[in-house]
């Protein structure tokens, strides 16, 4: 069964939602990237520092040397690709071969991180769309109801979905409308019941209108 309240379009107020999404995504991404960069450089910096330890240095050198022996014997070509190793000042303490190994590790890490970042970006976009939808939906409702009020319909009410934002505002808004509707209804009733007694009608109207505060009071 299709729920009555279900909205079929993700974009209810496209410009608002897009702006909302953009701001939200940008803020989230900035926070995310700053955190990620500090963690990334911190962790790799520590790893590279650890490699400066003499024992680890020797082990690493032996490992890379043995690999080089193999490469020389089997005449395999070693690839040279892009690397972000130059961002690390710690790398200056490593030998060329060690730097090559780290480049390979970093490139591998970047590939993995790249995929995950794209996934994260998609999730942030979907999340912001969802959140903006929860904000834009109620706004659209309010706008629609206000339009009907402007046209004189005081019987309309603003109905929001269960998990929409601004449900309490909508509740107050509906109470206000309810009150307004009651008062205008009462005015209508007074007019209807005292059409043949203008003096009483005027008196009752004055009495009833004294509860309103408008620009005409100034």
């Amino acid at each position: 069964m299709i729920r009555k309240e279900r909205r079929h379009n993700f974009f209810i107020n496209k410009p608002l939602q897009l702006r909302y999404m953009g701001i939200l995504t940008a803020i989230l991404l900035v926070i995310l990237l700053v955190s990620l960069a500090s963690a990334y450089f911190g962790i790799w910096g520590e790893v590279l520092n650890a490699f400066s330890d003499e024992k680890i240095q020797n082990d690493l050198l032996t490992a890379s040397r043995l690999q080089q022996y193999d490469e020389a014997r089997h005449a395999r070509a070693s690839g040279q690709g892009f690397s972000a190793l130059s961002f690390f000042t710690q790398a200056e303490r490593l030998s060329d071969r060690q730097q090559e190994i780290f480049k390979e590790i970093l490139n591998q890490t970047h590939q993995n991180l790249g995929v995950k970042l794209l996934l994260l970006l998609a999730l942030v976009a979907a999340g912001s769309l969802f959140i903006s939808h929860k904000v834009a939906g109620p706004l659209y409702r309010f706008e629609h109801v206000l339009q009907q009020i402007r046209e004189g319909d005081l019987t309309v009410r603003c109905h929001l979905r269960k998990f929409d934002e601004a449900r309490s505002v909508a509740h107050s808004f509906n109470l206000t409308l309810e009150s307004l509707n009651e008062r205008v209804s009462r005015l209508e009733k007074i007019v209807r019941e005292n059409e043949k007694n203008p003096e009483r009608l005027l008196s009752l109207l004055r009495e009833e209108l004294s509860h309103f505060k408008t620009s005409a009071d100034r």
Binding site: K55, N58, D59, L61, T62, A63, S64, R65, L66, Q68, Y69, E71, A72, R73, H74, A75, S95, D96, R97, E100
Partner: protein, 438 residues
């Protein structure tokens, strides 16, 4: 196309000439320098071999593992050192015996093939290295050579035990060629010794082995790839590294051996000249190269260990050269090598020469000087210097080994095929004539 097309007698004279000529013309100063380099290089094996096990470190770098190839060169070097009176005979004998005992009873091996890298203290396999065919061959060559220097001792028996323990057929893994190695984790390596390089020594020991020898047909199974460089036709190794033209020659005297019509001594002489010419062709681009500064081979470089080499072959170069490359070619190109050795020693003594001989390599463009000595590089220097200075002293001993004689005989290496073919034709002709007369 066969590499050697000149007359057999003429070529023999050509081949024997370099060694004989240089022996005569060496000045006292030159001889003293070469002996100093040989003696200092031997010192590496004394200093970097474990006192208890005798296993030799791969390099002078701290925490370097033991290398079985370096250990093989160590056995040979110790034997040479005592023969020259540089160390007492007893000391060399005990050290060699101790090493062979370690190899027999403690060093990790698979079917007789030792693991490439071992813990120098215990002989246990380290760094998940492979049971290596070529490195076992280099070790055995050193052990068998050492046994020739101590004929009346138990060293020949120990060396023979190690040799007989090797299951060479197993290392073929059911193929026609010898595999590079085997690992417990993954089995045989995906590489086979399938074209010309240091494999000749491995093939010689495997075909000539007293037990589990590989079939003689394996000798024909590998490729003799030929190409030309500056008018020189060469059976070349894939990398073009000089060591591939030297290692087998450090032990085996190829001057009178013929593989079909190929003489590998002449081949190495041409390869050495080609290597010199190739580096000279980059003279304008690199400060390292000059007429007296050459030698592209596998060695340490600014970016680590690389298979530098000349043409034909890959021809990888970046201005890094290794003194042991020109020393290793001393028997092939005495004039070019001697000039280089003198130049390196005189010009770069402070940066390049140390108490254990020449350090591994240098690169003037990057102002890089190797801080290390490598065991196998010191080893090939020692053996080639000894061959050069003692007029083939190692060759003479190694060639009399029954295994080597068996290999030479089985593979028909005593004379060029063309000569044999001509003789057979002549015999047929005589036979036909005789039958006609009858």
């Amino acid at each position: 196309m066969p590499i050697v097309r000149v007359g057999f007698g003429l070529l023999c004279l050509t081949l024997l000439a370099p060694l004989a000529r240089s022996q005569e013309v060496l000045s006292l100063e030159e001889r003293t320098l070469l002996e100093k380099i040989e003696r200092d290089s031997i010192e590496y094996f004394i200093r970097y071999s474990d006192r208890e096990t005798g296993l030799t470190h791969d390099s002078s770098r701290p925490d370097s593992p033991a290398s079985i190839a370096a250990t093989g060169f160590s056995l040979a070097s110790l034997a040479i050192a005592q023969s020259r009176g540089w160390i007492p005979r007893d000391e060399a004998y005990h050290q060699i015996r101790r090493t062979l005992e370690t190899l027999r009873s403690e060093a990790y091996h698979q079917n007789g093939f030792f693991y490439h890298f071992l813990d120098p203290k215990t002989g246990k396999r380290v760094w998940r290295s492979e049971a290596s065919s070529i490195d076992t061959a280099l070790l055995l060559a050193g052990a068998l050579l050492a046994s020739q220097y101590f004929p009346e001792t138990d060293i020949p028996r120990l060396a023979q035990t190690l040799y007989e323990r090797v299951d060479w057929k197993w290392m073929m893994n059911g193929s026609r060629l010898l595999c590079h190695g085997w690992k417990p984790e993954s089995g045989f390596l995906p590489y086979y010794w399938d074209s010309y390089n240091e494999l000749i020594l491995l093939q010689a020991l495997a075909i000539g082995a007293p037990k589990n020898a590989i079939p003689r047909e394996a000798w024909d199974a590998w490729d003799r790839l030929e190409d030309e460089y500056n008018g020189k036709r060469i059976v070349y190794s894939y990398t073009g590294s000089l060591f591939t033209y030297q290692y087998a020659h450090a032990f085996i005297d190829f001057r009178k051996l013929w593989d079909r019509d190929i003489n590998y001594f002449e081949n190495s002489r041409r390869a050495s000249i080609a290597n010199w010419e190739y580096s000279l062709s980059f003279k304008d681009q690199s400060k390292t190269y000059s007429e007296t500064s050459w030698g592209l081979t596998a060695c340490l470089g600014p970016g680590g260990y690389r298979a530098y080499g000349g043409k034909p072959g890959l021809g990888v170069q970046d201005g890094t050269i290794a003194p042991h490359a020109s020393i290793g070619s001393l028997v092939f190109t005495p004039d070019l090598s001697l000039a280089a050795i003198k130049f390196f020693y005189q010009q770069y003594k402070d940066s390049l020469y140390g108490p254990l001989g020449f350090k591994d390599a240098f690169n003037l463009d990057k102002q890089w000087w190797s801080p290390e000595y490598l065991g196998i590089d010191q080893g090939v220097s020692v053996l080639m210097l000894e061959n050069f200075l003692s007029n083939g002293g190692i060759w003479g001993r190694f060639m009399t080994l029954p295994a080597i004689q068996k290999w030479v005989e089985l593979c028909g290496l005593n004379e060029p095929h063309s000569l044999r073919r001509n003789r057979n034709i002549s015999r047929s002709a005589v036979s036909s004539t005789t039958s006609l007369v009858r």
